[in-house]
Amino acid sequence: MTKMSRKERLQMAEETAGISFWVDLKKGRLSKYTIQKKVRRFLVALFRYVILICLGFVVITPLWTLAKDALTDPNVLADKSTMWIPQKVSTLFMEMALSRNLMDFWKSLGYTMVMTIALTFLQVLSAGLAAYSFARLKFKGSNILFFFVVLTIVVPPDAIMLAQYSAFRNFDIFGIIKAVTGKPLNLLNKPASQFILAGLGMGVRSGLYIYFLRQGIRGLPISVEEAAHVDGAGFLTTFFRIVMPSMSGSILTVSVLSFLWNYTDTYYSSLLNPSQYNLAYHYSSLQSNIRWSIDTAAKSNSAWLSQIDPSNPYVQTAVISACSLLVVLPLIILYCFVQKRFVQGAARSGLGGD
């Protein structure tokens, strides 16, 4: 297409109706209905952006302050004249947080990611199976059992900590393990215990996932499953080939939540698997001895030692902010990729009669 000047374009638009809204409006070519529709659409869009930008600002503020603290240059730490952007930007604190003496970030990130992905997979699978059973495969007493799902949502794990601790310390199934090995199994400090819990539907907030997936499955038209059964599909086939794919939106949501909460969980990881490579656990334990950690980190690098004083509370806050930012950032980056898959569900109304 040849390039046209603005004037030429306008002229062309004036000749042909329906090219530009403004031109059409000026020439009186639009019906009242079209104008109304356009105006309404514009107002809705405006309203949406105003609301989203305002609330988005509220939501992003804490993260922004975290980033601001983490990226401030050590020499202007005490400066309080700027609020949103540090007076002088420096990545020194981020480098410190990445280093071996503080977070040992890259190694920890790898370990945490592998653990979290495995836990998420197990958790979603077990929750999906249970949810399908509660939604569709009703048997006597399944409604009563569902009460216990709500109970697992209500009871926070640390409220029964003492009993749970001793249950993990002396794990046994009706005395069988004691009879075989002579003493009950100690499940504490073992990563496998976390997998067992997730696989058995008792991981971090599994109850919520079961409830949510069950509601989702109940919202599916049952006719598809019936058709599958009539065509001779077994229950496992129906679940994995029909129910799971048509639930992909809910499964994705549950996976995101499960990933977030497993990644940030410190209760189960400190009880069952207190590994120093678990980012969230390591971060929470770092807070109590931050001064000592900064001290050792600074001693390993003379450039840092000359710039910061580990006993300075500002320095401590900045370092913790940097660590915290490092823990949170992978989650947000990952979510940016995943959220593209949150799209309007495939139309499930392909069946006649729906």
Binding site: V58, A130, S133, G201, M202, P313, G345, S349
Partner: protein
């Protein structure tokens, strides 16, 4: 491992499995699908629960080797409910806070989810932003250093809401309602932080609605409001139920109440009472936990019992 188990069960039933009618097969597979969760429930949840219940009914002693208790009946519960001056008051306060926050929370999260849903520029960015409250609510980005914080102003004072408060107060609305409204506005930061999960759940619920329903509504000439009432609301109603349960449970778990003029988290108060040294307090703590569970469950039972009447399912 799970597959083998299923196979084994199938085998033992294989003689009669083919002869079973569909209903029985459904029930059998219902149990099989539920089996992993059921095992987990019994060994990692019910057993600790029953033990906690036992603690609450006894006076506990911690010796060098074991943790034993003598049965004292409902003494601990009596102490918690009648002798302890703070607990029932704090529980009531948490309950009332929950009741006032709940409708606002559900409404706000549904509203934000509807705003986030749909086609518009920058959708990815806004959706990514609204996951931040979930991450922040886990407490991973909050830290308490005893010394000074770098931030000069707290986030509350970033947005000065006083003009809005005055506007509402002077607008002639009855004082009870206006004070409720202003408290919502003042707490917008905390409220949004507690809404993250619900927004995500609602978003997923909204996206599960078949677009053809909206098409039909448009063809038939429904107004937007009618479309919302007749399509959106019924179709997300199952999600509303989940969000209600989650909100109530979470609201109790993170409830902040006043004790001696200070704000304390109820759950932390219970924990501090449980582990305040002498082992006899384990019993008190357990009894407190149980009163708290019972209240939460009762609330969920009543509210969800009412709401579930209006929930729409396909089956």
């Amino acid at each position: 491992m799970k597959k083998n188990k299923n196979k084994a069960v199938k085998k033992s039933f294989s003689f009669s499995y083919k002869k079973m009618d569909f209903e029985k097969k459904t029930a059998l597979w219902g149990v099989i699908f539920l089996l992993p969760w059921l095992i987990g429930l019994i060994f990692f949840f019910l057993r600790p629960m029953v033990n906690t219940l036992r603690y609450s009914l006894s006076s506990m002693q911690l010796t060098d080797t074991s943790f034993t208790g003598t049965f004292i009946g409902l003494e601990n519960f009596k102490y918690v409910l009648t002798v302890n001056p703070d607990f029932t008051r704090m529980l009531t306060e948490a309950f009332l806070n929950m009741l006032t926050e709940l409708p606002f929370q559900i409404f706000l999260s549904l509203f934000i989810a509807i705003m986030l849903n749909g086609e518009y520029k920058g959708r990815g960015f806004f959706r990514a932003i609204f996951v931040i409250p979930i991450i922040l609510a886990t407490g991973i980005a909050t830290f308490n250093l005893s010394e000074a914080s770098l931030t000069t102003q707290t986030s509350e004072s970033v947005m000065n809401m006083e003009w809005l408060t005055e506007l509402v107060v002077n607008s002639g609305i009855p004082q009870e309602i206006s004070s409720l409204l202003t408290s919502y506005v003042e707490n917008i930061f905390t409220v949004i932080t507690t809404c993250g999960v619900q927004i995500l759940l609602f978003l997923s619920g909204l996206q599960a609605i078949s677009p053809s329903l909206y098409e039909v509504a448009q063809m038939e000439g429904c107004t937007s409001f009618e479309t919302f009432c007749k399509i959106t609301l019924p179709m997300v109603s199952p999600t509303i139920l989940v969000c209600l349960v989650y909100s109530i449970a979470e609201s109790f778990a993170t409830a902040e109440v006043t004790l001696n003029g200070k704000d304390v988290v109820l759950a932390e108060y219970i924990r501090s009472q449980t582990f305040q040294g002498a082992s006899q307090y384990y019993g008190y703590g357990a009894a407190m936990s149980f009163v708290y569970f019972a209240l939460t469950l009762a609330t969920i039972g009543i509210i969800c019992g009412i709401v579930s009447k209006g929930v729409f399912y396909y089956d």
